[in-house]
Symmetry: C2
Subunit: 300 residues, 2 copies
């Protein structure tokens, strides 16, 4: 069996699946993300139990970031400089490998979700981005089917954006004020409008959707021009606002010059195929990949 662990900002999901069917967990457990020591201890407990139940042959860990995800780095497997109290510098991977000494994958929660959402769309959905818009904004990017990125990137949260002409809100980013995350994250929406996008009265909701779509379309355009994104999935809490994803697509269509992606069909925007579950399923898929890669190495 393989185990996937998603450590999110508020909860941890641990799941077990068969090695040859990572997308369909046979068992899972969810608990709140607390301080590092007790949280990691609960994950270790899950691993010990999985070990007893049927053995663990590989693990995949998908964590909130930023992470040191460079396998050559001495700090590989740690959460680096997160604003989350107590977690900066936490070694997340080693204490798990002390319980089960098996092949492991370690990446961000959004990268894992990107992998799962990509695979849910069949053989070749083109260059791909999974964007999550919630407390923060993050993206996992696949180019020609392979995850792109390393320690500290992609980090689309802090992209500079052109302000909507009607937007007078200062922004909530503690570093930049009005970067993408400062203007378009969940906290930005709540602070600008006094409520989250799904709870606003109809008229305010239309205005909120117009601004949010304006900013997310800029992100889509940037990803298109830099990494050739063909399909962008928008997940996370803010993405649940009814009508938002269609509004992003409309804004993109409006915005589409003749330039960009010569010969490529226009960028598409879609909701997640497996909202709320893609992180842990991606972690399981990456665990299965790590197991397969270790097998290949053993045959060299």
């Amino acid at each position: 069996m393989i185990v996937g662990v998603e450590t999110g900002g508020t909860k941890v999901v641990c799941a077990t699946a068969n090695e040859d069917d990572p997308s369909r967990p046979v068992h899972s457990e969810t608990f709140p993300t607390a301080d590092p020591a007790p949280t990691i201890e609960r994950i270790r407990g899950y691993l010990r139990e999985a070990e007893r139940r049927g053995g663990v042959s590989a693990i995949g860990v998908a964590s909130f970031g930023p992470l040191d995800a460079d396998a050559r780095s001495p700090r590989y497997g740690t959460v680096t400089s997160t604003p989350k109290p107590g977690w900066s510098g936490t070694d997340l991977l080693s204490p798990l490998l002390d319980v089960v000494d098996v092949p492991a994958a370690f990446t961000t929660d959004v990268n894992a979700a990107a992998v799962a959402e990509h695979r849910a769309r069949g053989a070749n959905p083109g260059n791909f981005a999974y964007v999550t818009v919630g407390t923060g904004i993050g993206a996992g990017i696949l180019i020609d089917g392979a995850l792109m990125g390393g320690s500290g990137y992609p980090e689309v949260a802090h992209l500079e954006v052109v302000r909507h002409p009607d937007d007078r809100f200062a922004g909530v980013c503690r570093f930049h004020g009005d970067c993408l995350e400062g203007l378009a994250s969940g906290p930005a929406v709540s602070r600008r409008w006094g409520a989250d996008g799904s709870s606003l009265p109809a008229r305010a909701q239309q205005a909120a959707i117009r601004l949010e779509a304006f900013y997310l379309a800029q992100l889509a355009t940037t990803l298109r021009y830099v990494v050739g994104t063909d399909l962008m999935i928008v997940g996370g809490g803010v993405a649940k606002t009814p009508g938002l994803i269609a509004a992003v697509a409309d804004r993109l269509a409006e915005n589409d010059g003749a330039a960009g992606g010569s010969g490529r069909p226009p960028l598409q925007v879609e909701p997640p195929a497996m909202p709320g579950r893609s992180g842990v399923i991606g972690a399981l898929q990456l665990a299965a990949d790590a197991l397969a890669a270790a097998g290949d190495l053993a045959h060299v």
Copy 2:
């Protein structure tokens, strides 16, 4: 011997080098870029002569874009939808391979320049971008030492940018008006100020540099956040404006929040190591790579 061909917007450079020393051409020839048929015929003439002189074992072609650079595409080797009169849909590669049937590389001029500038900086300059700012704006991006990109991307010219508060210029992009290329290309500088950056009186030049640095720093920040760029080289005509590159670096330092590239040293900006020659040298290096790859395949 190997041959590198750089077909630029205004001139073509053909060069010959030894297979094991692609960075030092032993022969080269330059002529203006005219209509496709006579231009391609001159390149074919160069190849025939190189063939007579010592044989041609591989070629590298680096062209103004946009290109179909996807080796699996039926239109591989063609210039696609360029505004350059007569060149849209021109098959550039096949007529050359009709003269010399050898391993070939085909990519954009800016990708080839990026490869050459990257290799000129030794073993590991980190994630890398070569940006050219002239008639247009383009970028070649390397991640972990490998060229990133495919047909239609990267295409940074049309990135949306936040306007400098002092900038009232409408922009010159025929698609978007005030995208990056619309506000920061050579034609944008000339139209906004009535002269190119190097010919302006001192005071206007300072203002021009301030605006240009503001826009190029945004490009640098975008590349940093999306593809983790550690070192950005700025080449092309506009980059020759004295003081510009230092101004971009200053603006970046000013702008640098605590976020972005956790654990990575700050992004550096530098001038080209081989201005004006990196395109054809990159074409030669990619020719040598294509030859080596063909050799590896032959041994499988």
